[in-house]
């Protein structure tokens, strides 16, 4: 069975440009997470979905970040406009339910120049 799939793996953009990341979770996993991981640190939660509902987006910088999970399956995370400080690895994870084992994708490494 395929794991969590993310694309692209790498993205380099100039500041003030928009960028979008895509995630396809494991089939049947209702819970989907987006995390941001800075170099050498643990992941920090940006948003958590239960099916198509965002149940925890308290850590999402809503002035420039947005996310969608329209059909409760795959999800996109967008940044517009990007800032230098947004450079990080953006990880998507899915699980059968909140608190259950989370399976992570390989992440998208974003570099804003």
């Amino acid at each position: 069975e395929a794991g969590v799939v993310q694309s692209p793996r790498y993205k380099i953009i100039e500041k003030k440009q928009p960028v979008a990341f895509w995630c396809n979770p494991i089939s049947g996993h209702n819970t989907l997470y987006w995390y941001r991981q800075n170099l050498g640190q643990g992941p920090e939660l940006l948003i958590r979905y239960e099916n198509e509902e965002a149940v925890d987006d308290s850590q999402l910088p809503k002035d420039r970040f947005s996310a969608e999970r329209l059909k409760g399956v795959d999800s996109t995370l967008k940044i517009q406009p990007a800032e230098l400080g947004d450079s990080a690895v953006y990880l998507c994870a899915s699980s059968l339910g909140s608190g259950a084992e989370a399976f992570f994708g390989q992440g998208t490494r974003l570099t804003v120049v």
């Binding site: 969590v4 050498g40 643990g42 992941p43 925890d56 699980s95 992570f104 994708g105 390989q106 992440g107």
Partner: protein, 111 residues
């Protein structure tokens, strides 16, 4: 304030040595998970501990959940170069279903 503090932040030891890394919090957790992350990859789950005082073994890795479910440790016996990576603990406090990660321990095993 970080909910989960891990120590040490960095650890570099010779192959064959033993080591212990720690995950501490002032909060009680319903369960706690340990992940290992290699460069360029997402974290991979190693184990989940649920019961206070629980001990789980995974080959040369021994995981323990504190009696009060506020802390955990990971002990590696006879470390191998393949153990190199970023070790992360993560937990979900009761009443808060957010899976929260610790600060991580970056382990390097020198051949």
């Amino acid at each position: 304030t970080q909910l989960l503090e891990q120590s040490p932040q960095f650890l570099s030891i010779q192959e064959g040595e033993n080591l212990t890394v720690y995950c501490n919090s002032s909060s009680v957790f319903s369960s706690l998970q340990w992940y290992r992350q290699e460069p360029g990859e997402g974290p991979v789950l190693l184990v989940t501990v649920v019961t206070g005082g629980e001990v789980k073994k995974l080959k040369r890795l021994t995981f323990q959940f504190g009696d009060a479910r506020k802390d955990s440790s990971l002990h590696i016996t006879a470390a191998q170069p393949g153990d190199t990576g970023l070790y992360l603990c993560a937990g979900d406090p009761p009443g808060n279903e957010k899976l929260t990660f610790g600060t991580g321990t970056r382990l390097t095993i020198i051949p």
